[in-house]
Amino acid sequence: MSTLAYDGGAMLGRQLLRIRNNPGLLILTQTMPITMLLFFGYVFGSALAMPGAEYRSFLVPGLLVATAANGLMTGMFQAAQDTHRGVMDRFRTLPVSRAAVPLGQAAADLVVTAAGTVPFLLVGLAVGWRIEGSALEAVGALALLLLFRFATAWVGIFLGLLTRNEEAAGQLGGATFILPLLSNAYIPTEGLPGWLRTLAEWNPISAVTMALRDLFGNAPVPDGAAWPVAHPVAGSLAWCAVLLAVFAPLAVRRYARGE
């Protein structure tokens, strides 16, 4: 285990150096949710029945979770790039724990998300979002967000190792933008037709978004929601456990075998 921690730490260091040397992708991923908050909050917010300020505080948890979900692109792109460029193969010839390379990537994703959440929430506060629950619940909300981000990182790394090609990963990455559209991240699901609502509420993004709204005290659990949204904290933990249990072993196996 200490070997894994040491190697994983070295790989985390590598990812952070990579970001420092080449901060373009970081700047894009960090400013995107802020831009979306301002656009959606003021453009869509003006057209919705919900008052603008209320919509913006509804949107803040939604965008946090949508960003965490779309963040799987980072891991996917970098794992595909590393495979394509032969860096993965170099690592695979080293006496390094087989889980260390994907773990380093997932840990780097976590650090970047944690750092990016601070400016985003400051902008959120400026446009009317507030923590309306207890401090403990707010900490719980952030912990849940990071757990979800950790789980999506493994999904991305697995997909990146599978595609092995930066271009294909880029195209697949574009498709992940659809995922939050079919959830409660940007709109309330109550207005959707029955089957679509069910589909949206079984989207893992919906459970985590609802959990954050609940813990921050931004919006109540809607009536008649599907189980993961009706029990958002338990639902979120269950979804994270499922994603990690499936994708972490798949990613490590894929990395170890290389084919």
Binding site: R18, R85, V87, D89, R90, T93, G258
Partner: protein, 323 residues
Amino acid sequence: MTSTYAVLSEGLEKRFGEVHALRGLDLAVAQGTVCGLLGPNGAGKTTAVRLLTTLLRPDAGSARVAGHDLLRDPDAVRGSIGVTGQYASVDGDLTGRQNLQLFARLHRVRGPAGRAGELLDRFGLAEAADRPASTYSGGMRRRLDLAASLVRRPEVLFLDEPTTGLDPASRNRIWDCVRELTADGTTVLLTTQYLEEADQLADDIALVDRGRVAHTGSPAQFKSVIGAHVEVVVTDPDVLVKAAAVLDQLTGAEPSFDHERRAVAAVTRDATLTLPRLVRELDAAGVPLLDASLKPPTLDDAFLRLTQEAQETQDTQEEERAA
């Protein structure tokens, strides 16, 4: 078993779907030597290296690398090898220094910063040390690759086409590095497209063809398969037959004529035949010479001839089977 072989493989097989890339590769590389793995494209050289460096698992067969079982103890193998090649690359987003420090750390080298500095100096990369590796020239990149495989001295170094696409100066620099390493006792397994490279560096050559080792031997042995090419040009077409008789006597091989050029040629495997002796014998026989040449065989000739022979043998076998 305490083996004197740094690499020893028996019956390695690997399939990729329909493609049978390796069909029982037996390879033995003695400790402290350089073995050149040659073969036409698609012969299985790269697959062989990918198996021996633990990047792929064989479908059948076994191998020991630096005394460790490839299948049972891949981590011990990884701890004893260095790999530089077309596929195992450094990280272009990191600087040369950052790359070497990372690899030193992963190899548990004490003082990774100091080790990285040493290697940067040794490989002439000190000036470019703090630039991203993606900005390096091909030669610098290859030297950084090689340095990264040497952060901790490997027992066995795998070099997969280490100088492909490099200019002669960069190529010589890589060759010098390899010679220094072998002088220190490192075993090297080298794949290359350039026969000259194998001739320069390798103690032994293994010719891989269709997933098997078809021939092994020293570069000199490979060349002796072909023999030297002797050609004489005479002033008068009438003495051509007389010249041919002398060549026949000297080489024991049937001479071939080129009447238009008034030339006759033969192949000799006799290493003691020299140009002065050839000229003396022809002169004594009263042959008026215009030109004479004795060209030593190249590894290219041997390579072409052996892969051709292997192809013909296989074709014959297949015809026999079909008949």
